[in-house]
C-alpha cells in the first residue's frame, strides 16, 4: 500500500488510514475503510467471511454480488488485540455470513470481539467487550469494559450499557456528545504521532 521508504510501525494510506504492520487483515479485498481509521497492532479483521447467498435472489442478472465483509467509516479506532468478525445466520435454511457495517468515530477497545450486524456512528466500545452476532448498536452508545452484548440485541441511541448480559445503566447526557469525537485520538498514533492536546 505505502511506497514510503522508511518502514514505520504503521502503513499510512492515501485516505489517511493508519494500519499497523502487525495487524492481521484477512481478505483485505473485502474490507472497506472509509479513511482516517487507525488499526493498531494485533487487530484481526475477518474479511474472508463473505456472504455466500445474495439477499435478493430475484435480481440475478443485476449488479455483481457485493463481497464486502467488513465496512468501516471514517475516524474509527481499533485498539490492540480487538477482532472484527462478520456475523453469520441462517437465511432460508442456508447458513451465510452478513456484512459487518461500522459508522464513523467508532472506538473499539483492546481485546474486544465485535460480531454485530451494524454499529452506528459515535460509538465507544470499551475493553474486553463481546458484541454478539447480529447485534445492532445505534449512534452515541457507550459500552463499558467487560460487557457482553447478547446476539440480536438492539441498543438504541444515547444508551450506556454494561454487564453480562448488557443492561441499560444510564443515558448519554446532552453535553456528552463531543466526547465521542476521535479526531484528536487519530493524531496521537501513527509513524509520527503528535501528543494529545491538553
Amino acid at each position: 500500500m505505502s511506497r514510503r521508504p522508511p518502514r514505520g510501525e504503521y502503513i499510512e494510506t492515501d485516505t489517511g488510514n493508519k494500519v499497523a504492520r502487525k495487524a492481521t487483515l484477512v481478505g483485505t479485498q473485502n474490507i472497506m475503510l472509509g479513511g482516517k481509521t487507525v488499526i493498531m497492532p494485533d487487530v484481526m479483521i475477518r474479511g474472508d467471511l463473505i456472504r455466500t447467498i445474495q439477499p435478493s435472489s430475484q435480481s440475478t442478472g443485476g449488479a455483481p454480488p457485493s463481497t464486502t465483509a467488513v465496512s468501516i467509516g471514517r475516524y474509527c479506532f481499533l485498539s490492540r488485540g480487538c477482532c472484527l468478525r462478520p456475523p453469520g445466520r441462517l437465511y432460508k435454511g442456508v447458513f451465510t455470513y452478513m456484512t459487518l457495517r461500522i459508522g464513523d468515530h467508532v472506538f473499539v477497545g483492546p481485546g474486544s470481539v465485535v460480531q454485530a450486524a451494524s454499529i452506528g456512528s459515535h460509538v465507544h466500545i470499551g475493553a474486553k467487550v463481546s458484541v454478539g452476532e447480529l447485534a445492532i448498536i445505534k449512534d452515541y452508545v457507550r459500552i463499558l469494559d467487560g460487557t457482553v452484548v447478547p446476539p440480536n440485541m438492539v441498543i438504541p441511541s444515547f444508551s450506556i450499557v454494561a454487564g453480562q448480559p448488557a443492561r441499560l445503566i444510564g443515558e448519554v447526557p446532552e453535553g456528552g456528545h463531543e466526547a465521542f469525537e476521535l479526531r484528536n485520538l487519530y493524531k496521537t498514533v501513527g509513524n509520527n504521532p503528535q501528543p494529545a492536546p491538553s
Partner: protein, 709 residues
C-alpha cells in the same frame, strides 16, 4: 398622632388639629406612595419595556437594579413580598386620606382665621385613624429593611435557601454534596437566566415513547391499551426472539424474528444469551406475531385464561352470572387470577355503594377509623379507577360495608399449604429460586393465580415485556424556557435545542506536572499514581474558554481541604484572563501562522517569567504567573501537599474514599457580552454596540487522586 395643639378657649371639649409638619409630610408622602404602589401592583406593565413604563415609572428602571425586590429578579422568582407591602401601603394611604377627609369636612376653625380643628366623636375617630396609619408606616418600614438585610446581598442562586450557603467552603464530602455535583457533560445552561442547570432541577417533558428493542415509536394514546411487542428473558434480561419450536436449529444461530422461513406450528420465545425458552414454563404460541395478546391469554403450562376484556363481556352476559354464582356456592372455588378477583371485589363494593342501607352488620364503629366506610372506600377506589366511582351525592349516614364472602364476590382464600413449594425447594435447591431482581422485573398482573406462594422459582418466571424508553425535552425551572429538546423521531440523534453548560463555562483539565529538573521536591507525575503524603505535588489545570469573548477567571480554593485529613492547597495563579474562542475557521485559515504565534506566545511567556527560557521550570512556579497559554486556554499550577493518612489513636478507621484528594474550588467567570434584545433586565438601549458585564460563579470539585496510605 400629634398632640392636640390648639384648644378652643370657648369650648371645654377636647379637639384635634394636625400640625404643619404633619400636613407637609402627608402632602409629600401620599403622592409618592401612590406612585410606588401603582408601580408595584401594576407590574410587569410598569417595568422597563412595559406599556405603562414610560414616562411615569422610568426612574424605577434604575431603582430596580439597585433594590432587587423591585427588579426583574424577584419578579421572576414570583416574590410576592414586595407586592404585599404595596397592598399594605394602599391600605395605609387610604387611612391617611380618611383622616384628612374627616379633619377637613368636620373641622371648624377654632379661632377666626385659624386652622380647622375637629372635636368630639369625629375628632377621636380622626386621631385614631391617623395614629393607626402611622404605626403601620413604622412597622412596615422596619419589616422591609429587616427583610432586605436578612437576604443574601445578591441572591445568585435562587435555590439557595440558607443565606450563608454561598459563603461557606463547599465540602465535597458532605452527604448533600452527592446531590449537587455533576460532571460537566450533565449540566445544562439557561441563556435567559444565565445560570447553570443540573439534571436535578430541570423539568422534563416526554417527547417520544419508543421500544428499545424494535425502535418502534409508541403513540402516547396507545401506551396503556397496547402491550409491548418485544420481550426480555426473565432469567437474564437478554432479548427474546420468536422461534419455531419444531425445527429448532442450532441455538447459537437463531433465526431473526423476521425470517420468512416456511416454518409453521407452535412458536416459542427464546433467549439468545442463556438459551431459556418459554417452553420451559409451558408457553407456546400459535402465531409468530401479536405475542403480547397471545401471552395475555396463556397461563404457565399452556392453559388459557380469560383476558380482562373477555371477563367484562362474560360478566355482562346474564346467562353466565347465575352459573358462576352456583359454582361459587359449590364450595371449593376455582383459583381466581388477580384481574378476576379485582373485578369481583369491585362489583361487590359498587353494589353496596349504590345501596348504602343494604348491609349494616354492626361494624359501624369502625367506620370512624376510615376503612369499611363507603365514603372512604369510594375515595380509595376512585384513586385506582380514575374517579369513575366517585360518590358525588353527599351521604348523610356513613354505614359500614360488608366484605366478600364468596369467590364470585372476590373472596380468595390464602393457600397456606406450602408443602409443594418445600418439596420443590428440596428438589431444585437454592439455585432454582428466583432472585429479588428477577422477581422485581416480573410484570405485574400477568394473570397468574395469586401472589401467595407464586413466583418463587425460576421455573415460574414469565417473559418480561420491554419497558419503553423516552426522548425528553428539558425546561429551565425558573424561566420555563426549553434548554434541551431532541427531535421527535426515534431514529434521529439531532437536537432542536441543546444548551449544554460546556459551551458556556470553561472546562478544566487536570494533569500532574513533572518538574523534571532533577529536584526531588516534586512528587510523582505519573497519571493515576498514588499521591505521596506530605510531599508537595504540582498539578497543571488547563482552563479552556468555550465562548467567543475574552473571559476573566478568578479562582478561590481553601488553603486546606475540608475533612479529617486536610491537604494543603495553593493555587499559584488564581486570577487570569483567557482569550476568546475564535472561530474554528479563523484558526484553520491561520494554520500557517499558528506556529509563529505559538512561538511568539511562548516567548512572551518566557518574558513574563523573570528569567530566560532554558531554566523555565523554576521561573514559572512563581506566584501570580500563569504556566502556559494558548488560543483559548490557559494553564495554571496548583501545588498540593497531600495529608498524611495516619489515624490518630482513638479516632475511627479510614472511611471509604477518605483517601481521595478532592479540592473544592470556587470559580468566578466575568466577561462582557453584547446586550441581546431579549435581555429584559437592562434598560432598552438604542446603542447596539452596548456591552454588558456578565458574571457567573459556582463551586466545582477537582479530584486529584488517592493518597498513599
Amino acid at each position: 398622632m400629634a398632640p392636640p395643639t390648639n384648644k378652643a378657649v370657648a369650648a371645654p371639649r377636647w379637639s384635634h388639629t394636625p400640625t404643619t409638619p404633619l400636613l407637609l409630610w402627608l402632602g409629600v408622602s401620599l403622592p409618592l406612595v401612590a406612585w410606588d404602589t401603582g408601580y408595584m401592583l401594576m407590574r410587569p406593565h410598569t417595568m422597563p419595556g412595559g406599556s405603562l413604563h414610560w414616562p411615569l415609572w422610568v426612574p424605577y428602571a434604575l431603582y430596580g437594579e439597585v433594590d432587587h425586590l423591585y427588579g426583574f429578579k424577584q419578579w421572576h422568582l414570583k416574590n410576592s413580598f414586595a407586592a404585599a407591602q404595596s397592598l399594605m401601603n394602599l391600605v395605609e394611604s387610604l387611612m391617611y386620606l380618611g383622616y384628612l377627609a374627616l379633619w377637613y369636612s368636620y373641622g371648624k376653625p377654632a379661632a377666626p382665621g385659624g386652622r380647622k380643628a375637629v372635636g368630639g366623636r369625629v375628632g377621636a375617630i380622626a386621631a385614631l385613624l391617623g395614629f393607626s396609619a402611622a404605626v403601620m408606616t413604622v412597622s412596615k418600614t422596619v419589616l422591609y429593611y429587616s427583610s432586605t438585610i436578612a437576604r443574601p446581598s445578591d441572591a445568585n442562586s435562587p435555590t439557595s435557601t440558607e443565606p450563608d450557603e454561598d459563603d461557606r467552603t463547599f465540602d465535597p464530602r458532605a452527604p448533600r454534596s452527592n446531590f449537587s455535583l455533576y460532571p460537566l457533560e450533565y449540566l445544562l445552561y439557561c441563556e435567559d437566566c444565565h445560570q447553570i442547570r443540573c439534571p436535578r432541577c430541570v423539568t422534563e417533558e416526554i417527547v417520544t415513547y419508543y421500544c428499545p428493542n424494535c425502535l418502534f415509536e409508541v403513540p402516547s394514546s396507545n401506551l396503556k391499551s397496547e402491550g409491548n411487542r418485544c420481550f426480555q428473558c426473565p432469567i437474564c434480561i437478554g432479548p427474546l426472539a420468536v422461534t419455531s419450536v419444531e425445527t429448532k436449529p442450532d441455538p447459537g444461530l437463531l433465526a431473526a424474528p423476521d425470517s420468512a422461513s416456511p416454518h409453521s406450528g407452535p412458536y416459542a420465545l427464546t433467549c439468545s444469551y442463556c438459551n431459556w425458552s418459554s417452553t420451559e414454563v409451558g408457553i407456546k404460541f400459535e402465531k409468530p406475531n401479536s405475542i403480547h395478546a397471545q401471552l395475555a391469554k396463556l397461563r404457565n403450562g399452556g392453559e388459557t385464561r380469560l383476558t380482562a376484556k373477555e371477563q367484562k363481556e362474560r360478566r355482562k352476559d346474564p346467562s353466565y352470572r347465575p352459573q358462576a354464582a352456583a359454582q361459587g356456592e359449590l364450595g371449593e372455588a376455582e383459583a381466581l387470577d388477580l384481574e378476576t378477583q379485582f373485578a369481583n371485589l369491585k362489583l361487590l363494593y359498587q353494589k353496596q355503594l349504590a345501596d348504602p342501607n343494604a348491609a349494616d352488620n354492626g361494624l359501624a364503629a369502625l367506620g370512624d377509623l376510615g376503612f369499611s366506610s363507603p365514603t372512604s372506600l369510594s375515595r380509595i377506589m376512585s384513586i385506582y379507577t380514575g374517579g369513575s366511582l366517585q360518590d358525588k351525592k353527599p351521604k348523610s349516614r356513613v354505614g359500614a360495608m360488608r366484605e366478600a364472602l364468596e369467590a364470585n364476590e372476590g373472596l380468595q382464600l390464602a393457600d397456606l399449604d406450602e408443602s409443594a413449594a418445600i418439596a420443590q425447594l428440596q428438589d431444585e435447591g437454592l439455585d432454582g429460586t428466583a432472585s429479588t431482581s428477577q422477581l422485581a422485573d416480573q410484570p405485574p398482573n400477568i394473570g397468574e393465580v395469586h401472589l401467595h406462594g407464586s413466583d418463587r422459582f425460576i421455573s415460574e418466571l414469565r417473559p418480561i415485556p420491554y419497558l419503553l424508553r423516552t426522548k425528553r425535552s428539558k425546561r429551565c425551572p425558573v424561566c420555563r424556557h426549553i434548554i434541551s429538546k431532541p427531535e421527535a423521531k426515534v431514529q434521529t440523534t439531532r437536537f432542536r435545542i441543546r444548551l449544554v453548560a460546556g459551551s458556556y463555562i470553561p472546562s478544566i483539565a487536570i494533569r500532574p506536572l513533572s518538574l523534571s529538573s532533577g529536584s526531588s521536591a516534586s512528587g510523582a507525575a505519573v497519571p493515576g499514581a498514588l499521591l505521596e503524603p506530605l510531599k508537595p505535588t504540582h498539578f497543571l489545570l488547563t482552563f479552556k474558554n468555550p465562548i467567543f469573548e475574552t473571559i476573566k477567571v478568578t479562582l478561590g480554593a481553601p488553603a486546606k481541604t475540608p475533612g479529617r485529613f486536610a491537604s494543603k492547597v495553593t493555587v499559584l495563579c488564581p486570577d487570569f484572563e483567557i482569550d476568546a474562542n475564535t472561530d474554528v475557521w479563523d484558526e484553520a485559515l491561520k494554520e500557517g501562522g499558528e506556529r509563529d504565534r505559538e512561538r511568539e506566545r511562548r516567548r512572551r511567556k518566557g518574558e513574563e517569567g523573570s528569567g530566560g527560557g532554558s531554566n523555565n521550570n523554576h521561573n514559572q512556579l512563581e506566584v501570580g504567573k500563569i504556566w502556559e497559554r494558548g488560543r483559548n486556554w490557559v494553564s495554571i499550577v496548583v501545588e498540593v501537599v497531600p495529608a498524611s493518612l495516619t489515624v490518630e489513636h482513638g479516632e475511627g478507621p479510614l472511611r471509604e474514599d477518605e483517601d481521595v484528594l478532592e479540592i473544592p474550588m470556587f470559580v468566578r467567570v466575568e466577561w462582557e457580552a453584547e446586550t441581546g434584545g431579549e435581555d429584559v433586565g437592562t434598560a432598552p438601549s438604542k446603542d447596539k454596540e452596548a456591552r454588558e458585564k456578565r458574571e457567573l460563579a459556582y463551586w466545582c470539585v477537582l479530584g486529584l487522586g488517592r493518597i498513599r496510605q
